[in-house]
């Protein structure tokens, strides 16, 4: 073989060798590194921020055993592997329930698609899908007990479940985060000692003085209270909230310029959130778009009250009006200053810490929102409504993994509406643009071309 040919072959061998070496090194690097980029529109291949936060709390081995139906192993494996990648202390095992009936019986499992979560001697059985069910199970074993959630009853409140006007999905989301909901009247009994969270869900009738006294006692011992209120007079409740420096406006906040398609034109759009706020900027669930309150009233901080740290954290857009006459507002009449309607953005959400800290540093927490409809099944999936409702709940119940720390005296941050939801003005513009302007432009260009050609000929 001539020298030139030998050199050629040697070069070829060297190139092949280098290529193989490079590919091998890439493979080793890929095996060691773990990075995925989720390009799906709904990020369905990634864990939620809440799940990741919960998993980071796992400090000891956590074992998840899933009993699945034949042929469904893959869908469970994908989720559990993602969890293990966040925290290697998560171990999992996937068992075909039909092949391992004895192990299922030992765990008390008799249905497909169940996961047994075990941690530090504690155990929870949950649905193996969707993700939030498993996360709820992990939370339950991390905390040691399920958290008790009470909906007040007896004042025409929205029930926890059963239809578009109810809080079914809100309640289901809380159940997945380790809450056990129930409805309770406070007329004759205090809030039970082991209750973590009380929700007042849009009462139509006022509370009695003893009930507000019981709520105050609940807050003093470090409880969490979320109050969703529709426009309307509730004197006793208003007085009690005023004693904590929270003023309920006797008004109806509307925004005719930014009315949302799909609502009845009375919705108030919440676009301004306080920056650094653990409710709007929760590390696990930041609200990235605005929120829509279908029928809102203003809620703001009145004069400071000793022992209460309250602040307004959400305001409507500057185009809103707080109408003084609720009937005029419901009839869709235009607001006017002559009728004592107040223009400008209105505060619709206040958060407050109440009372002296307990031995563990915990204080009572309350969030008052000037609307009850936004968290119902009919509206909870609109824009950031769901995150707003759940983040508020998480903050009052002091789930530090889900809310982060508070910041004071910070500027508001603008949260524009998601581009997927159109205001009426935007819809009109879109119609004119696509149905009139665009064809008109084509027509105009065509006419010009015809004119130019005729002139040439």
């Amino acid at each position: 073989m001539s020298g030139r040919a030998a050199r050629g072959w040697a070069q070829l061998g060297l190139h092949v060798g280098l290529l193989l070496l490079g590919l091998s090194l890439l493979q080793v690097a890929a095996e060691r590194a773990n990075r995925r980029i989720d390009l799906t529109r709904t990020r369905e291949l990634s864990l939620s921020g809440v799940t990741e936060q919960v998993l980071r709390e796992v400090a000891h081995p956590l074992r998840i055993t899933v009993f699945h139906r034949r042929g469904e192993r893959g869908q469970h494996a994908a989720l559990l592997e993602r969890m293990r990648l966040v925290n290697p202390r998560v171990e999992y095992e996937l068992l075909d329930l039909d092949r391992y009936p004895e192990r299922a019986r030992a765990h008390g499992i008799s249905q497909y698609g169940r996961a047994v979560v075990e941690y530090e001697g504690r155990r929870a059985v949950v649905l193996a899908l969707p993700e939030e069910q498993v996360t709820g199970g992990i939370l339950r074993v991390l905390r040691g007990r399920a958290r008790r959630l009470v909906f007040t009853s007896g004042h025409g409140e929205r029930p926890p479940g059963g239809g578009p006007d109810t809080y079914g999905r809100f309640t289901a989301a809380l159940e997945a985060e380790n809450y056990l909901p129930e409805a309770t009247s406070l007329v004759d009994a205090d809030v039970p000692e082991d209750v973590d969270l009380v929700v007042v869900a849009g009462p139509k009738h006022d509370f009695l003085e003893p009930e507000t006294t019981r709520l105050a006692a609940f807050l003093r011992r470090g409880g969490g209270l979320v109050v969703f209120l529709e426009p309307g007079r509730l004197p006793v409740l208003s007085r009690w909230l005023a004693s904590m420096g929270i003023r309920l406006g006797d008004d109806f906040v509307v925004d005719h310029e930014r009315s949302i398609i799909g609502t009845d034109g009375l919705a108030a759009v919440v676009e301004l959130f306080k920056r650094g706020n653990p409710i709007s900027q929760s590390p696990g669930n930041p609200i990235e778009s605005g929120a829509v309150l279908p029928s809102a009233r203003s809620v703001e901080v009145a004069a400071p009250v000793p022992g209460v740290d309250a602040e307004s954290i959400a305001r409507t857009a500057p185009t809103a009006w707080a109408m003084a006459d609720l009937d005029r507002a419901r009839r869709g009449e235009q607001p006017t200053e002559a009728a004592h309607d107040v223009p400008g953005g209105a505060s619709v959400m206040v958060m407050a810490e109440v009372g002296e800290p307990r031995a563990d540093g915990r204080r009572g927490r309350v969030v008052v929102v000037g609307d009850a409809d936004f968290a119902t099944d009919a509206y909870i999936d609109l824009l950031g409504n769901r995150d707003l409702a759940l983040n508020a709940t998480a903050w009052v119940s002091e789930e530090p993994a889900l809310t982060g720390e508070r910041s004071k005296n910070v500027a508001e941050v603008f949260r524009p509406l998601s581009p997927l939801v159109l205001t009426e003005r935007q819809a009109r513009g879109l119609l004119l643009g696509t149905a009139v302007a665009q064809p008109g432009l084509v027509l105009a260009v065509g006419a010009v071309v015809v004119a130019i050609r005729r002139r040439r000929t």
């Binding site: 034949r70 329930l97 039909d98 092949r99 009936p101 004895e102 497909y112």
Partner: protein, 172 residues
């Protein structure tokens, strides 16, 4: 021109395929199961059938004039039930088959029922256990093999038809 003719021919072939090729038939019930066969026999190869479920036992022999149960020609209803059961068993396929360390968990130690098919090659025994969690399949085991099978639950109704009217025998 040649290209046009070629494309037209391609379209014609495609149209012909669409017209002539039928989609695969959607199977349901026992026909949808494509796992391993349980018995190595044909319908005609079954000479004798022994079924024991709890305290009830039936022995049927195929003769030149049909099925005889306990030496007596079977009535028409039982004859039809026996024929259906043998047909089912001869074509029976497992939904799933896996190795198990313990058979008691599947109700196979002891089994709740046994079926024995006697063929010219000898007897083939099938032990039946308990239903699975969903109640959609029955655990079973062939001839002391190490594998546990899952069989369609429709086998139970076929056995019930055969054993209808057969009294349970008193324990001796």
């Amino acid at each position: 021109m040649r290209r046009t003719v070629a494309l037209a021919a391609l379209v014609a072939v495609g149209a012909l395929l669409v017209v002539l090729v039928e989609p695969p038939a959607r199977r349901s019930g026992p026909d949808s199961v494509r796992g391993p066969r349980v018995f190595r026999t044909s319908v005609a190869g079954v000479r004798r059938l022994e079924v024991t479920v709890g305290g009830r036992r039936l022995v049927a022999e195929r003769t030149h004039d049909g099925w005889r149960v306990d030496g007596v020609p079977a009535p028409s209803e039982r004859r039809d039930a026996l024929h259906d059961l043998v047909t089912l068993l001869a074509g029976l396929r497992a939904i799933d088959a896996f190795r198990a360390s313990s058979f008691a968990a599947f109700g196979l130690d002891p089994p709740s029922a046994t079926i024995v098919l006697v063929t010219p090659r000898g007897p083939q025994r099938l032990a039946l256990g308990r239903p699975n969690t969903a109640g959609s399949a029955l655990y079973a085991r062939r001839d002391e093999q190490a594998r546990v099978l899952q069989l369609g639950i429709y086998l139970v109704s076929a056995l019930d038809r055969v054993l209808a009217g057969v009294p349970a025998r008193a324990a001796s």
